[in-house]
Amino acid sequence: MLAYLVRRILSTIPVMGMVALFVFSLLYIAPGDPAAIIAGEQATPEQIERIRQSLGLDQPFLIRFGDWLWHILHGDLGTSIFTGLPVARMISQRVEPTLSLMVLTLILAVVVAVPIGVLAAWRVGTWVDRAVMAFAVFGFSVPVFVVGYLLAYVFALELGWFPVQGYTPIGRGIVPWLENLVLPAIALGCVYIALIARITRATMLDVLQQDYVRTAKAKGLGQSSILFVHALKNASVPIITVIGIGIALLIGGAVVTESVFAIPGLGRLTLDAILRRDYPVIQGVVLLFSFVYVLVNLAVDLIYTLVDPRIRY
């Protein structure tokens, strides 16, 4: 078990290396000369050349990559071309709203999706099942910003139940924090709920036909005990897998959701960076999100052994 743990954690290193290489190449081939930008408009070619040398920009690709990687490993993500601030600091200032939004969406999605998936499998073929499946199709088809605008229009503008836009830090109270995040979380959660509900239903359908479920029924166990203890526990591995994979949807969707609801998070930062062609910032955000994604899927692999003791490594 411990050997597996170590091996699995080590296996993320080549993947992260590939991501780093990919992201670095992005900056490497990006148009524009950072040395010229830093030197300013009045700089002479000699001054630019001196800055280039001091930044190590005249070195070959692999040396620059190694250098860059070394800095990354020490928490130095470079400096923003536009603001001149360290990218790491710019990112850390924006982490809270995005993290809040994603965690809330994750909780909401799991709490909603798993029960409706179980319900659909239990009542397969009935209107309940069809309603859940119809919702899944719509969840996949209606893009996150469309759901976002729709929710904001109905529940914030027309009904006035929630603030239309903005974000309140959690430090200023749970309630205002939550009020601002409810609509974005629902909008962002739609496609995620559809994904999880669909897999839950499919796996549960399979599990409910197993002999041990029949045995549980025969010995007179209650319906909810059969569904949620016996069946769901055995269906949990694919469900947890898809929750992990779906984090990619959540990350991509967060960028758009933040823009719809004017939440000052990492998505907003990415957007501004794109408009200003601020490559170090884009690079930093992509790297961070990919790192989170790899870690989540590492966690998923480790959770397998907890929920299913049959999986031994």
Binding site: Y149, L150, V255, R277, S290, Y293
Partner: protein
């Protein structure tokens, strides 16, 4: 099925026989377009919707539209009226015309990405599945690419280049390739273990011939289904890229661009955002329904589960 065979029956027997219940439903209910619609209502709906969108895209100039790029500052952000069916945007362009022309961008991007990503994924997946030493390297590279969420990867690639339709197509294609390659590789690996492939190898068939004759035909079904879903996903990513200002140039009438234009004003002029949103959702829905139908038709085992 064929109708019951005609048997010569004496006339008096017919007269005496009680009227039999009509066991044979009318032919119309079983065959033809109506029969298909009755058996697969959602697929038929998706196909019809998609056909409608395609017709709209092709015949955009004849659908009572005006030039979608004509700017008129005198009639900015007008509400929908008899003259401007969907209103006008912040630069006074006719939203109805832009929405109708927008179908072109969405469908072209969706289709192109589906085709290009499928072909590239097929090639990479085949190489990876057939050549053992290449498998490790290719799959590690794909793992790395898959660790970057697709939308983020497309955004990062678009940040490098000018916004143009072909660049958008390339960026989304690259983001989608790893998933297709994985799928094809999986299919190839399982096919390689099939007895008929062993038999072909034993019979001395050369590898290219084995790929052509035994491997490729079996990848068609899962690839077709996958391509449909890629098309839907590409349409959404294209709209997202345009919406956040990293897609096709703002002058191009794409649904994402129209929504981006209405973003600042959406609380007072929600129609600018909602009309393209409805069309985008319907188009993606149509493609998804078609994909679900194809999955059910091509893979009955999966159809039962999902």
């Amino acid at each position: 099925m064929s109708p019951p065979p005609a048997i010569a029956v004496p006339a008096e027997a017919v007269a005496a026989a009680p009227e039999l219940p009509d066991l044979w439903p009318p032919a119309k209910a079983r065959r033809g377009i109506m029969g298909f619609i009755r058996r697969h209502p959602t697929v038929a709906f998706g196909a019809a919707l998609l056909a409608l969108m395609a017709l709209m895209a092709i015949f955009a100039p004849y659908l009572w539209t005006v030039d979608p790029s004509t700017i008129n500052m005198a009639r900015r952000a007008r509400a929908p009226s008899e003259l401007y069916w969907f209103g006008t945007d912040t630069l006074g362009r006719d939203i109805y015309s832009r929405v109708v022309y927008g179908a072109r961008v969405s469908l072209i991007v969706g289709l192109s990405v589906a085709i290009l990503a499928s072909l590239a994924g097929l090639a990479i997946g085949l190489v990876s599945g057939m050549i053992r030493w290449a498998d490790g390297i290719i799959m590690r590279a794909m793992d790395g690419m898959m660790s970057i969420p697709p939308i983020l990867l497309a955004i990062a690639l678009m940040a490098l280049t000018r916004g143009s339709m072909s660049n958008v197509i390339m960026a989304i294609t690259i983001a989608e390739i790893p998933r297709v390659s994985r799928l094809v590789r999986g299919v190839v690996l399982s096919l390689r273990e099939q007895p008929y492939v062993d038999a072909a190898v034993a019979a001395g068939t050369r590898t290219p011939m084995i790929i052509l004759r035994h491997i490729l035909p079996n990848t068609v079904a899962p690839m077709t289904v996958q391509a449909t879903y890629i098309c839907a996903s590409a349409m959404i990513i294209e709209a997202i890229l345009s919406f956040i200002g990293a897609g096709v140039p703002p002058i191009v009438p794409s649904w994402g661009n129209i929504m981006a234009d209405g973003r600042a004003l959406w609380q007072v002029k929600p129609f600018i955002v909602f009309f393209p949103a409805i069309f985008l959702s319907l188009a993606v829905l149509a493609v998804n329904l078609l994909g679900d139908g194809m999955r059910d038709a091509l893979d009955p085992r999966l159809a039962k589960a999902l």
